[in-house]
Symmetry: C2
Subunit: 236 residues, 2 copies
């Protein structure tokens, strides 16, 4: 089911609520990270980043919501995230509490003839649901999907995960159930009196993050060629 809640009625023409699941999937499959929001109660989790091996930091602050960036991979009708078993926020997410997963692609600055009408071109999806841990026997496959998503072809170039590594990694899955997608792809929408004036109007497109030339690690042994997955990424 898609867009089950009435929180998704469109408000403006140029900010279109898109109900096509294919468009949602296209966005989920393009972005590298999502921002995951969780209610954290009175003693919230610390701030981990999007890396795989973040170690949790406990937080004694009063904030009862936490938003964490993390790598995202869609697997059919669900999304996958992963992190260290030691990560505080991952452990919170794993207990099945309500979660909100937001992904955003910022695509341009809409330069209107007034500050009021100026805005962004973007696509943004908000998914509501709850995560549950991927069971041990399915973990390796789920991690394969995540690695493949971030760098297509890379899993086939790597040794298999070790049992110790799998044991140290928490993989969480959330069904794609209640979601909304907003797409702002248009032009400034100035009132007639502004449009008749002398102010310029248009759009400054923003490129999506582009891979640059790969940089070898300082400890890379001589003679090891840049692998195909990395060469392909630089071409995208």
């Amino acid at each position: 089911m898609s867009r089950t809640s009435p929180r998704t009625t469109p408000a403006r023409l140029r900010e279109l609520a898109v109900s096509e699941r294919a468009e949602l999937d296209r966005l989920l499959d393009e972005v590298l990270i999502a921002h995951v929001g969780l209610s954290a109660g009175r003693g919230g989790p610390g701030h981990d980043g999007p890396g795989q091996e973040d170690t949790g930091r406990e937080d004694t602050g009063r904030g009862n919501v936490v938003v964490i960036p993390t790598a995202l991979a869609r697997d059919g009708d669900s999304i996958l995230i992963h992190g260290s078993t030691g990560s505080g926020w991952m452990r919170l997410a794993a207990d099945g509490r309500p979660a909100c997963v937001t992904v955003t692609a910022l695509e341009g600055i809409i330069v209107a003839r007034s500050a009021f009408e100026s805005s962004f071109r973007y696509r943004s999806a908000v998914l509501f649901g709850a995560f549950s841990p991927v069971p041990d026997e399915a973990k390796e496959h789920a991690l394969h999907i995540i690695t493949e998503r971030i760098l297509p072809g890379r899993p086939g170039e790597l040794r298999a995960p070790r049992p110790r590594e799998l044991a140290a990694t928490l993989v969480l899955r959330m069904p794609i159930g209640e979601w909304s997608l907003k797409v702002s792809a248009g032009w400034p929408d100035d009132p007639a009196d502004d449009a008749a004036g002398d102010a310029w109007a248009g759009v400054i497109p923003l490129s999506r993050p582009r891979p640059g030339p790969p940089e070898p690690a300082p400890d890379l042994r001589p003679g090891i060629p840049v692998p195909r997955s990395v060469r392909d990424a630089a071409r995208r």
Copy 2:
């Protein structure tokens, strides 16, 4: 105060918790959008995008956390966001409930010799606090700061906001109080046995979103030149 939650020894050298306020400000001043998390109770807000004029959509869903992307501007020791007075999530934020504001700059893919060690280069800040409405008499100045932040020099090219526009816009301020900043800027950190193997390791840098050539609006009157603010943006 910064980072009020005690951090133990950094788990990994390459994921550094940075406590310098100047580094936080540098990130806040670079990104165009933040992801704002709010507890939404049983009837949460709808999903608005980062545009200025989003109109709220009410929600009767069960999700009790919502994460929304929105334009961000730092103003000294606080951050500013804005939206329509009709925006459901803006109205929630305005009531002073705990908020979490997360900004992320994704800067590269760390390609390690195993999936386990692979991760991202990034900078990510998490700010905890509460928003309060900017009072009417300070609203125009705050909106100037936001517009200037998104497109430097643009406010000076535009007519002044109209009273109707100011009345329709909610501007919220959150003091920069409790925050953490994580920076991952290093290289793969493979164990010795992997580093002695044949797998490549390095980093694929990711560019930040780059402005492309400005595109005039379809209804732009002939003879209006591209303004300086837009030309300057395309050079950045």
